[in-house]
Structures are given as structure tokens and as C-alpha cells.
């Protein structure tokens, strides 16, 4: 089992407020890692630290290392644009651009220049197939992405993310705006995607973490309380706090 990402003594601050405290854990390649924990414990902050989306917040500051294939993403010589291409992200609320389905999925390859004009239709089709959406939208590639239902929009955002051929996909509560059936769709899709990609998902649903992930990390007030195999963590938690949280007595 290869480590795709290694987190070493990682701290994160918003101004004087320390949002993440001394994180140390691995993220295993081609597997699904779920992060759980109560609201405000720093799950999103950690996710956005990996692809450096927090750079846009002026008061934010990181300390320690997040190694992607052994290379610290906070090193001086890291090209943030290239980093974000390698580490894609799917957001809590589906965020299609107000453009056509095709233009949405083609957006990444276009701006990054990873596909020529002739290759684009193929890339778009492959990405939409990869996101299990092709059959539903193949006849409306030219219509606005805003006309899709939320579940389809979220899968289109996943297609948009995989169109730039990332290595890691970060998902921040990707199902919170979806109904149960669309949620199952996305979970099946994650399982499928984990063959080719390393996936990190933040979720508020214990069931989802238990169902859909291989590894689980439990965050509490900026600290990683427990990390382990999902089955192990849910059936035999080592920390009392973890047990209290997953059984619903805490949080």
C-alpha cells in the first residue's frame, strides 16, 4: 500500500486562531479516505490545505508538511496551478459554471492546454462516462449545465475534475445537497473512481463514511483524534471520544 500523501506535523492558522493542530497521518493511494468530525473541527480547512485553496485567504498560514508523492506542497518551488491540476476538488454545493455542459467539462483541459481542440470531444465524453453521467447528458451537451438536476450537476462537477486527469480528488461533503438516490449514485461512482484515483472525502454522515471509505480519520477541535481502517474504527474505536461521536453521544 503506497502512501499518496503524508501529513507531517501539520499546523494551520487563520490569523491568531489555530484551526489545525499537529496532524500526522497518511493517505493511501487508490483508496478512499473519509474525514469525519463535528462542525468547525477543521475538516474543510484540511482539505483545502492539500490543494492550497486556502492561499486565497490572506490571513491564512500553514506550518509543517503535506507531502504529495514525497514532495511538500508548501515548498517554494511548487507551481500551485500544477498542484491543483494534480489534486482536484469537488465542492459541497454543486458549482457548475453558467455555461454549457460541454464547456464546463472542457474548461480544465482548455485553460491548462492539456487537450487540443480535436481531442476535446473525446476528453469530455470520457470524463462524463467516468462520472457515470454520459448516458444522461449526451444529447444535451450544448444546453446549460444549470438545467441539470443537483445530482447530475454534482456528477458533472466530478467529470469536470477528472477531465484534467488528476491523481487525487478531494470531496467536501459532496452529497450534502443531494437526495438519497443521487447520494448512492455518487457513492457508487466514488468506488469506481478509486481504482484510478486517490479520494479524500469529508462527510457528516457516519453511514456514508462506514459504507463508502477504506480509511477514516476523526477530527475534533482541530486535532486528529483517531485514524485507522474504516471497519476497525467503526467497530472497535480506540479512543473514547471516537466511540462517543460515532454512536451519537457526542458532537
Amino acid at each position: 500500500m503506497d502512501k499518496k500523501i503524508e501529513v507531517n506535523k501539520f499546523d494551520f492558522y487563520y490569523g491568531d486562531f489555530q484551526a489545525l493542530i499537529d496532524l500526522n497521518f497518511p493517505i493511501i493511494k487508490n483508496q478512499i479516505t473519509a474525514l469525519i468530525g463535528p462542525s468547525g473541527c477543521g475538516k474543510s480547512t484540511f482539505l483545502r490545505a492539500i490543494n492550497r485553496m486556502n492561499d486565497t485567504i490572506s490571513i491564512a498560514r500553514a506550518d509543517g508538511e503535506i507531502l504529495l508523492d514525497g514532495k511538500n506542497v508548501y515548498d517554494q518551488d511548487v507551481d500551485v496551478s500544477e498542484l491543483r491540476q494534480r489534486v482536484g476538488m469537488v465542492f459541497q454545493r454543486p458549482n457548475p459554471f453558467p455555461q454549457s455542459v460541454f464547456d464546463n467539462v472542457a474548461y480544465g483541459p482548455r485553460v491548462l492546454g492539456t487537450a487540443t481542440k480535436h481531442e476535446l470531444p473525446d476528453v469530455v465524453e470520457k470524463s462524463l462516462r467516468g462520472a457515470a453521467l454520459w448516458d444522461e447528458v449526451k444529447d444535451k451537451l450544448k444546453s446549460s449545465a444549470l438545467d441539470l438536476n443537483p445530482g447530475q450537476q454534482q456528477r458533472m462537477c466530478i467529470a469536470r475534475a477528472i477531465a484534467v486527469q488528476p491523481e487525487v480528488i478531494l470531496m467536501d461533503e459532496p452529497c450534502s445537497a443531494l437526495d438519497p438516490i443521487a447520494t448512492l449514485h455518487v457513492e457508487d461512482l466514488m468506488r469506481e473512481l478509486s481504482k484510478d484515483y486517490t479520494i479524500v472525502i469529508v462527510t457528516h454522515s457516519m453511514q456514508q463514511a462506514a459504507r463508502a471509505s477504506d480509511w477514516t480519520g476523526f477530527f475534533w477541535l482541530g486535532k486528529l483524534v483517531e485514524f485507522g481502517g474504516t471497519h476497525e474504527l467503526f467497530t472497535n474505536p480506540k479512543q473514547e471520544l471516537t466511540e462517543a461521536y460515532i454512536t451519537g453521544r457526542q458532537g
Binding site: N51, M53, T56, S81, E82, L83, R84, Q85, G88, M89, F91, R93, N95, P96, F97, P98, Q99, S100, Y107, G108, R110, V111, L112, S143, S144, L146, C157, R160, A161, V164
Partner: protein, 312 residues
Amino acid sequence: MTAQQGVPSPLPVDEAPPRPKREIVIEAFIRVAGVSTIIIIILIFAFLLKEGLPAFFKVSITGLLARRWYPIEDMFGLLPLLVGSLLVTVGAVVIAVPLGLTTAVFLGELAPPWLREILKPVIEVLAGIPSIVLGFLGWVVLAPAIQNMGAPTGLTAFTGSLILAYMALPTIISITEDALYAVPKEYRDGSLALGATHWQTIYKVVLPAARSGIVIAIMLGIGRAIGETMAVMLVTGNAANIPSLSDGLYFQPVRTLTATIAAEMGEVASGSLHYNVLFAIGIVLFVITFLINSLATWIIGGNGGRRRGGQI
């Protein structure tokens, strides 16, 4: 319209409680205001048609499209005036739109917050400068400067374009910046997370998403400028001639449609042919404005930036 108060309510009395008197009065007032506004607009238009339409028959379309405007000898060719308006307005658009958009992008996306806090109110104050003051500045400062550059006179189409552009700029900048601000953060995040740079994000996501707001900004800015008459009259030299390409298109005096009405309306005898033709010019202006508005609606209504984001 107080009679309306006596009209029985259409709802069964035992279901709806009696409506407070205040509400009935307010509603009646709003209705009167709304209806009378529409009536006034219709009356204005009817008056314009009544006074202007005869000109189209008496002078004939070919007469109106002739190249010479010389009312004293009953020569009513509108072409020089049309060309004058076109030159001045197109010049203003060409100057104001790129300048306004880039300034708005700088303010909204690139400038540090403290600079934006200073510049935004300053620009809004500029929008409040009375246009005649700008015309005066154009006459005293701009025209001599342009003459120094080698034009035979400083009162030219170009001078008019500059003044109009300056008048349109604050509106374009301020409303475009609002439209950029209204673009949801999720769009930017989505683009950045794919590896797009800040600039690519602005260019490919933020600007298109704000498109309808930007079109409105341009329309309002240019609208303010087109309707403006006096300032333009001061600086364009007011010669009803068609500038020739060979003599430097933009560096010759012109006269606009609006300036013609303003300059001559005071001197014509009511009901004379000249008088009718001035109203006909009003109709022409009306049609032009209508076409431009339709164009803008069409641009805004196209697919893309609808429903979410960017609209104001």
C-alpha cells in the same frame, strides 16, 4: 379615482376580513401613479408622431437622406447629423468600454482592499459632476490641447467622443464592478481548483458570468452619454458637414442630432416645415434608442449567464 373605494371587494365578505382603509388608499395611489406614467409616455409619443410624421411626407425620405442640412433653403438632409451622432457615439464607446471594463476588473479583482475603498467612492462622485461642467472643461482644456496636436480646430468629433466617454466611464466602472462582485465565490473556487490561474479565472469564468450586468453597465453609461446634448454641443464645433476620411475623419467639426434640436428649436416657427423636421429627428432618435435597447435585451437574454450569478 376615489370612486374605487366604493367598489365591493371581489372576495366573499365572510372569508376576508375588511381591508384596512390605509391599504386601499395606498393601492389606489400606486395604481393611479402607474397608469398615469404609462399614459404620459403614450401622450409624449403621440405628440412626437403628430408633429414629426408630416416631415416624412413633405420632405420625402430621399430628401431627409440627402447630404446637406441647410434649413434656411429648405434643405433637410439628415445624413450629416446622423454621421455626426454616429461618429461621436461610436468614438465614445470605443474609448469608454475597454477603459471602463479594465478599470472595473482592476478595482474588483486586482486592487488591494484599501485602494478599492478609496477609489470606489471617488468614481461615484465623478458620476455626479454636472455634464455641462465637463463640457466647459472640454472647451477650455481639451479643445486647445487637441488643436495643439495639429488639428485645424480643437472642436471636433474626437473632442465630443472624449467628453462623452468621460461621462459614461463612472457609470460603466461602478456598475461593472457591482456585477463582478455579484459573481458567486463558488465559480472562482471551481475554476481555481482546476488549476486555472487568477487571470484565466477572471477572463473565462467571472467576466462571462457577469455578462448581463456588464451589458447593463455599458448601456446605462452610453445611455447617459447619448442623451447628453449641451456638453457635446460645446465641444464638437457644430458644423453640419460630413467629415471626409481624407481630412482625418475624427478631427473635424460635426454636429449631432440632439445638438441640432437644441440649437434650432428656439428659432423655428411652430408648425413650419423646419419645426416638423426637428420633431422627425426626435422620431429618428427614438427609433435608434429602441434598436439599441432591443440589441442589449437580446444580448442579455442569450443562453449562459442566467438564473445564477452576475445579474443585477
